[in-house]
């Protein structure tokens, strides 16, 4: 996804001389293509994320659209107050790129697991939070948000991300994208974890349960009409995110259900606890957190049982 993002940035920068790329000394073999093509609009600020956000704020005030690139934990947290007092407070088009959200840097341990980036950035008014599901959607999201006057946070995978079958690079703000139809239960997922939701739907089908899967890449301030309408059509939904339970996609879906008075029952599937000392690859970490396809299928089946649907 990070390569797709840089490719999209190069295309944007070719057509728009406001596009500027800052990195806090990360992106080796990824950002060079941009740097070679637009050397005057690329700066490695060094290992200094707080300063990077401030520089981006100043650049945006002079008319640039700066993208700030680092690993998701560092982009979203090291300069969080700078993000709040800079692009958020000033209403500036700074773009924050968090690479490897969730457990993408699994073996690297908890300092590199971005599990609260979605919720803390979603907490800022005027911030647009987007976690694309695959490289094509990353590209679409970068382009679709380009004209937004306020800040945007992109949580993208760090590489080797498979395209989601049936998504075809669709993206629009607020809008959920259906990638699998179904009648009995709806999975709503954000980011690349959608692959696990699709796997869960496959398993459920073997048990005679028809599960739909939708991707909600834009985790907004509140749910848009598309998500509300979608939830209205299902008796039960499972939200899926590679993030802590608080404040992210699950909170958005729960808010929509409660605020709109929908009959849809909800199971929030997210990371439920802090680090316990054991690291592993992304697959291992997801499984330990109950976010693998088998666990998600089990959660959906249990939800249907609890509401008398099977």
């Amino acid at each position: 996804m990070r390569n797709a993002l840089i490719a999209a940035l190069i295309e944007l920068a070719d057509a728009d001389d406001r596009v500027f790329l800052l990195t806090a000394d990360l992106g080796f073999t990824v950002v060079e293509r941009f740097a070679e093509r637009h050397p005057r609009r690329f700066v490695n600020v060094g290992v200094a994320e707080q300063n990077m956000i401030g520089i981006a704020t100043g650049l945006a005030q002079t008319g640039f659209v700066p993208f700030c690139y680092s690993i998701a934990t560092f982009t979203s947290m090291r300069g969080y107050e700078q993000i709040r007092n800079g692009p958020v407070l000033h209403g500036l088009p700074v773009r924050l790129v968090g690479v490897g959200g969730g457990f993408a840097y699994g073996h690297a341990g908890p300092t590199h697991h971005a599990l609260e980036d979605l919720s803390i950035l979603r907490a800022q008014p005027g911030m647009t939070v987007v976690a694309p599901a695959d490289p094509l959607q990353t590209r679409a999201a970068v382009k679709a948000t380009h004209s937004l006057p306020g800040p945007v946070y992109f949580r993208v995978g760090k590489g080797g991300n498979k395209d989601v079958s049936g998504l075809g690079g669709r993206f629009a703000l607020d809008r959920p994208e259906m990638v699998r139809e179904g009648r009995d239960v709806l999975f709503v997922a954000t980011g690349e974890i959608v692959h696990e939701a699709i796997g869960a739907a496959d398993r459920l089908e073997e048990d005679g349960i028809s599960a739909a899967v939708a991707i909600q890449a834009h985790v907004g301030w509140r749910a848009g009409a598309g998500l509300v309408d979608l939830l209205r059509r299902y008796p039960a939904a499972v939200s899926v995110e590679e993030a802590y339970r608080t404040g992210g996609l699950g909170a958005l879906v729960a808010d929509a259900i409660a605020s709109e008075g929908l009959a849809c029952r909800l199971a929030v599937r997210a990371v439920e606890s802090g680090f316990d000392g054991r690291s592993g690859g992304p697959g291992y970490m997801k499984k330990r957190s109950g976010l693998d396809a088998a666990s998600l299928a089990g959660a959906a089946a249990a939800l249907l049982t609890s509401c008398g649907r099977r």
């Binding site: 060094g46 100043g58 005030q61 002079t62 107050e81 700078q82």
Partner: protein, 275 residues
């Protein structure tokens, strides 16, 4: 317009400084707000910048020089400068720190004339780096001025910005440290010693000079010239907290205290006698 930093101009700037001190006292009393000493500490720097050195300060002109008040709690001095230049009208000025006012205790960009919102120490200079870099890339010859408090340099981000500005040769960036030696909980030398401030910046690659921060002629001379040899410029301004009011000068409580009518009258009399 050529900078007017000649000695002939110094008398006018000194009178402006005295007038600003009076306004700070009067409005602090009227609004019942503290930070009086911090605002008095930077009066000469703000007067020299806004009335002599900066190009189109506080306007919306794209080629204007920019001003960042890192020590946002001294906002009243900035508001006085914007009032003096007619950017803030009298009625608006008098709303300072009131309910619904655009003139908060810390400055916000929502008030015309404020270039950058501040209030959280240590973040302004980084924004100044971005402004300076952006202006240079846009081919503008504007300058960026960032006024920091001495204790603000306790923040690590200041030194991230210091390294960046020097590495990228941001000679259009000038920072001023208001070295009054007092911070919220005590003397800087007792909390985090900031001895040899100018040398620290010079070691980081800045063209660093030290001046008497209450000498308008010296401030004018150094602030009107950008850093030499393509370096960003650091002006360490030695000042007194509460300058111009005997019972406030160098007294930490005037980082916080509010004025009473009696104290305000005494302060105004001293400022009047001194100008």
């Amino acid at each position: 317009m050529a900078p007017m930093n000649e000695p002939a101009d110094a008398g006018r700037l000194r009178r402006s400084a005295a007038a600003m001190r009076k306004r700070i006292i009067e409005q602090s009393l009227a609004s019942n707000v503290g930070h009086v000493g911090s605002a008095l500490s930077i009066v000469e720097t703000v007067v020299v910048l806004f009335e002599s050195v900066m190009r189109e300060p506080g306007t919306r002109g794209p080629a204007r020089d920019r001003f960042i008040l890192g020590k946002g709690h001294a906002s009243l001095a900035l508001y006085c400068a914007l009032r003096e230049r007619g950017i803030v009208d009298e009625e608006t000025f008098r709303t300072f720190a009131g309910d619904g006012s655009l003139l908060g205790v810390h400055p916000e960009v929502f008030l015309p004339g404020v270039d950058v919102s501040t209030g959280s120490l240590g973040q302004g200079l980084s924004i100044g780096c971005g402004l300076a870099l952006g202006m240079r890339e846009r081919g503008l010859d504007s300058r960026v001025f960032a006024l920091l408090s001495d204790a603000e340099c306790n923040e690590g981000q200041v030194w991230e910005a210091a390294m960046f500005a020097a590495h990228h040769g941001l000679s259009n960036l000038t920072a001023i440290v208001d070295l009054n030696g007092l911070q919220a909980m005590g003397r800087t030398k007792d909390v985090i010693d900031l001895d040899a401030m100018a040398s620290r910046w010079a070691a980081f690659g800045w063209d660093a000079v030290e001046v008497d921060g209450h000498d308008v002629a010296a401030l004018g001379a150094t602030l009107s010239a950008p850093g030499t040899s393509g370096r960003p410029k650091m002006v360490v301004a030695r000042t007194l907290l509460g300058k111009g009011v005997s019972f406030m000068e160098d007294r930490i409580e005037w980082h916080y205290r509010n004025l009473t009518p009696e104290l305000a009258a005494q302060a105004l009399a001293e400022i009047g006698a001194g100008s």
